[in-house]
């Protein structure tokens, strides 16, 4: 049996717009195995982001449950959820979301401080992780002084510093050029393999597919298709063919 780290059960999300009810998710169930690299694909408005946010513990479903390591999110209070976000999950955003008033080192260290480390310990750990993502020489630069790729590396270091079990990356290559995007994907893939971290990305980036163990297509608030690694390879050709045509 596979070791399931994240389990979504019958997730429904309803937004009320005036008097109208809009279903962003219509009962999504999915198991994600530990150590996998999962890509969630889907056009905008498909419910992909909503699903992603709920699974990551950022948003609450209207109905349904999310379990992480067998722990139901619905049973946790806000302080425990903060603990889960801090220790178990690392978040990477499309627009990097670094704090502009902090240097690269401080941006990573603050996440470590939230996990209960003292500031000096946090800075030491932060500089270690920044070293690992190849930014040892940029510790004291603010986000404004870093390139997009470097900012995303800082964000990856920040997501890694508390040794999470799951990394959630929302369109991590969306604001990067092709080559830098590829570097970021490789870095994520390497971290996933070296540290057995589960990586979940929401993306339209076809390059992501090659790195994925599982690809989930979401359409109209439902899981359209789930493909494992072997099947994905075949799909890449056709999809590439389609996009080129």
């Amino acid at each position: 049996m596979e070791d399931v780290i994240l389990k979504a059960q019958g997730l429904t999300k309803v937004y009320t717009m005036g008097t109208e009810k809009v279903y962003a998710l219509k009962g999504v169930s999915l198991d994600i195995a530990r150590g996998n690299y999962v890509s969630i694909m889907g056009p905008s408005g498909s419910g992909k982001s909503t699903f992603f946010n709920i699974v990551g513990g950022l948003d609450k479903p209207t109905e349904g449950e999310v379990f992480m390591d067998g722990q139901r999110f619905g049973d946790l209070n806000s302080s425990q959820m903060a603990w889960v976000r801090c220790h178990k999950v690392g978040y990477i955003f499309q627009s990097f979301n670094l704090i502009p008033s902090m240097t690269a080192l401080e941006n990573v260290a603050i996440a470590r401080i939230f996990s209960g480390r003292t500031p000096p310990e946090a800075r030491r750990d932060a500089s270690e992780v920044l070293e690992q993502v190849g930014l040892g020489h940029r510790l004291h630069h603010t986000p404004a002084e870093l390139s997009g790729g470097q900012q995303q590396r800082v964000a990856i270091a920040r997501a890694m510093v508390n040794k999470p079990e799951v990394i959630l990356a929302d369109e991590p290559t969306g604001n990067l050029d092709l080559r830098t995007g590829e570097e970021i994907i490789n870095l994520l893939g390497k971290l996933q393999k070296d540290k057995n971290i589960t990586v979940i990305t929401a993306t339209h980036d076809m390059k992501m597919l090659a790195a994925s163990d599982v690809v989930v297509w979401i359409r109209d608030g439902q899981v359209d298709r789930v493909a494992k690694r072997g099947e994905v390879k075949i799909q890449v050709g056709t999809i590439d063919g389609n996009t080129l045509a």
Binding site: L58, L76, S79, Q80, W83, S101, M102
Partner: protein, 218 residues
């Protein structure tokens, strides 16, 4: 399966960390913080000036010196009247209210601008209490620094204007006790006011959700 107990509560972050985060945000927006502060400086300077002026004039009246009385009458002081003019109190009250609204407005805007930042901090494991602290410190720091500058400026202006009107007599009767009391009163009023103005924006900031980190910037 009752494993909810296995997940601990999130650890508290020390005040010093909240303070350094607030200080960083203030420094980044130094220009706008200055403008907010100037509002407080002016309001408190006005209050201090009135208090200082009152104490000096009262002390001069108490001298019961002929030539001082002439100067006082020239300056338009009603020697027989006791206490502060109620119109002046109203004016001071209104100006203080204006700076209160100014701080609240500036801080609410600054929170709106940083909704995404707050969401991100929550994704990293920040609790509501940490967000309340950082925004509270940031806001009240502006108010308290502004109050400090304002009370000193008001004192200086009060002494200078009275020196111009009454010359050396001011130092003959310099009412140390009343002046120090005036400074303290202005400082306490200004600080309390700034702290009150900081409560609402800080709580409003903490209401932001982790999912706000995903917002697309407008």
């Amino acid at each position: 399966m009752n494993s909810a107990k296995t997940i601990p509560r999130q650890t508290e972050v020390p005040w010093t960390v909240a303070f350094s985060v607030s200080w960083g945000s203030l420094r980044r927006r130094i220009f706008r913080s200055m403008i907010t502060m100037i509002g407080v400086v002016l309001g408190i300077a006005f209050l201090t000036y009135m208090l200082v002026n009152d104490s000096i004039v009262q002390a001069l009246v108490a001298m019961r010196n002929e030539s001082v009385n002439v100067l006082l009458q020239k300056a338009g002081v009603d020697i027989l009247r006791e206490g502060t003019d109620p119109m002046m109190l109203l004016l001071i009250g209104l100006s203080l209210l204006t700076c209160l609204v100014g701080i609240i407005n500036a801080m609410l805007m600054s929170v709106t601008e940083r909704i995404k930042e707050i969401g991100t901090l929550k994704c990293l494991g920040a609790e509501d209490s940490f967000i309340v602290r950082t925004y509270f410190i940031e806001s009240s720091l502006q108010g308290v620094l502004g109050t400090l500058c304002g009370s000193l400026a008001g004192l200086l202006v009060g002494i200078l204007i009275n020196l111009v009107s009454y010359g050396g007599y001011v130092f003959q009767v310099f009412p140390w006790f009343e002046i120090i009391r005036a400074e303290l009163v202005a400082f306490v009023i200004g600080s309390l006011m700034s702290i009150m103005a900081s409560i609402a924006p800080a709580y409003w900031a903490a209401c932001k959700q982790p999912v706000d980190a995903m917002r697309v910037e407008e």
